[in-house]
């Protein structure tokens, strides 16, 4: 957070889709021809003029990419776009993850894995080791298993219906890993219930953690208050918060 009264404007930039990859049954990865100076865990607002504008985690900086799950009207419209089509972006917004050496466990629930492959690359680049625990309802919702394997991370999978990996919740694979020791930090993104369960596990095992929360966003710039979560603004103080202090991560 800066004491400077005026910061650079953050207006929309029209970007072109250069690549569209189907990642799972309901998620596509879009690579764009625009550039954003950003760190893993930050997000951007994606805008389709005349349709809507919604927040999405930055899934990669080079090329700038987003992993979009189809869950409603806006993501439906984004899924209909093809390479060559345009989409408007503004950002980056929010506080991201911090990168440090050591062994990190990255936990993604559903499309919550979106910012984590980007983070894994940053952690590996600064000499860290990465384990990934990925959870979803079923195999069709699992995201980035192959991307993490290709990066050389140890990947642990859990699905609620048992269609891939261990049957159960992602916290069921995380618990033994944390209790066994050797994990220096945990970084997670996913549904709130998963993050809350991870927060208790991390408190119990004394594992420092950075958790990325979602909230209903309007302005994205910390002024309207609609993204408040536990007395903090997710768009500005977060979306990444550190446990146990509850303060925004040191990005």
């Amino acid at each position: 957070m800066s004491g400077a009264p005026r910061e650079a404007a953050c207006q929309h930039v029209a970007a072109r889709i250069v690549e569209k990859t189907q990642e799972n049954a309901r998620t596509v990865m879009l690579a764009l021809d625009a550039a954003l100076e950003c760190i893993p865990g930050q997000f951007a607002m994606l805008w389709l003029p005349g349709v809507d504008e919604k927040p999405f985690s930055i899934a990669g900086a080079d090329p700038l990419s987003f992993a979009i799950s189809r869950v409603g009207p806006f993501s439906e419209r984004v899924h209909a776009l093809e390479p060559g089509d345009r989409i408007w972006i503004r950002g980056p917004f929010g506080a991201g993850f911090s990168a440090a050496p050591g062994r990190a466990l990255l936990v993604g629930g559903g499309y919550g894995a979106a910012p984590l492959a980007f983070l894994a690359r940053a952690l590996l680049a600064c000499g860290g080791k990465v384990d990934a625990a990925l959870g979803a309802r079923g195999v069709g919702d699992l995201l980035f298993v192959k991307r993490f394997r290709d990066l050389g991370a140890a990947v642990h999978v859990a699905t609620e219906d048992g269609s891939a990996g261990m049957r159960g919740r992602v916290t069921d694979v995380v618990r033994p890993l944390l209790r066994a020791g050797g994990i220096d930090r945990l970084h997670a993104c996913g549904p709130e219930a998963m993050l809350d369960a991870l927060a208790s596990l991390c408190t119990e095992t004394g594992t420092p953690a950075e958790l990325s929360y979602e909230a209903y966003m309007r302005c994205g710039v910390g002024i309207c208050g609609s993204c408040e979560h536990n007395e903090r603004l997710v768009c500005r103080d977060g979306p990444v918060f550190t446990i146990p202090t509850g303060h925004a991560s040191g990005s």
Binding site: M1, S2, G3, A4, P5, R6, E7, A8, A9, C10, Q11, H12, A14, M45, W47, P49, G50, D52, E53, K54, R86, W88, R90, M217, R218, C219, G220, V221, G222, I223, C224, G225, S226, E228, E231, L233, R236, D237
Partner: protein
């Protein structure tokens, strides 16, 4: 050289009998009516906090994009999203309770589509016993029944003021729009009906166009300009209102720094509203502005805000101000 006074200048001020320990007021609509965020503004240095405007019925607000930073401030069309006056009462109660130990008064804010509903909304939020009620007749992003803001004419502004005054004994502040030919006339009309204070100003209508798509950027097409671009408009409005009426003015619009606050008070404001500054300076904007204001006053030997208030009202003759200083004299 004059010696700096060792004590800090007195930054307290008053609106309609309510004492503020700091002249900075969180503007309405910033951070909604979340009690914890209102407390956060109070802890950062706000002397009073204004809740988001509530309407008799809940409103969902407009689609996104609803607020955009275009480099000289914000353009927003949130569309007054709020949970409705009834739900607002319980939020206001919680907020008032949390703010009391900090000594920071709570200002409720209301809007409605008809004069009668303004009165009803005032009576409803009065149940939460806010220190003051701000009457928002000037939101550019919603239209009243007849298609224009109540702040547009002296007659409708006065009618709303009268309805609110008849519904509650809590002092009321009427919030005016800059988008009128003669804001002083509107100010006189609301004061004649008993307005205890005036907030000037709400946002100025504006629009941004995306060059690539040729589309308006905001989903609502047009919105309200706030922040840096609004400051000169706000200063003129405050100056004109201060010359026309004697009730206190919450000077609002583009105050980003301590110097901006000095300018607003110099134009005649009793205290200063702060909103968009939070986009650039974060939640600590209040403490930054307060510190800058304190240093500014102390370095110039001012002991209180009264000493700088309304300086723009002094008669100014160009032949006098253009005269070069006489060497060896000190102009105080």
């Amino acid at each position: 050289m004059c010696a700096l006074p060792s004590t800090s200048p007195d930054l307290s001020c008053r609106i309609a009998g309510v004492r503020l320990r700091s002249p900075l007021v969180l503007a309405s609509g910033i951070w909604g009516t979340s009690p914890s965020l209102l407390v956060r503004a109070a802890r950062s240095g706000a002397g009073a906090v204004t809740a988001k405007t509530c309407t008799p019925e809940p409103r969902r607000g407009h689609r996104n994009p609803s607020a955009v930073d275009w480099g000289h401030g914000l353009l927003n069309a949130m569309g007054l999203p709020n949970p409705g006056a009834e739900e607002e009462v319980s939020l206001l109660r919680t907020a008032a309770k949390a703010l009391a130990p900090l000594g920071v008064p709570l200002i409720a804010s209301i809007s409605a589509d008809t004069v009668k509903d303004f009165g009803a909304a005032a009576a409803l939020v009065a149940q939460a016993e806010p220190s003051l009620i701000e009457v928002n007749i000037s939101c550019p992003n919603v239209q009243a029944e007849h298609g224009e803001m109540f702040a547009s004419s002296a007659r409708s502004a006065a009618a709303v003021t009268a309805a609110v005054k008849a519904s509650t004994s809590i002092p009321c502040i009427v919030k005016l729009s800059p988008n009128v030919p003669d804001i002083a006339a509107i100010a006189r009309a609301v004061v004649a009906e008993g307005a205890d204070a005036i907030t000037a100003i709400n946002t100025m209508p504006g629009m941004l166009v995306d060059a690539e798509s040729g589309m308006p950027v905001l989903a609502n097409r047009s919105g309200g300009i706030s922040g840096a671009a609004l400051k000169p408009i706000a200063l003129r409005c405050v100056h004109e209102i201060a010359a026309a009426v004697s009730v206190p003015i919450i000077g609002t619009g583009g105050v980003l720094t301590g110097t901006d606050a000095v300018e607003m008070i110099s134009a005649g404001a009793a205290c200063v509203g702060v909103g968009t500054a939070i986009v650039g300076r974060g939640a600590e904007a209040f403490s930054f502005i307060l510190e800058e204001l304190t240093v500014w006053l102390r370095e110039r030997g001012y002991a209180s805000l009264d000493q700088i208030r309304g300086r723009t009202q002094r008669p100014c003759s160009p032949s006098v101000t253009n005269r070069p200083p006489i060497p060896g004299t000190h102009v105080s």
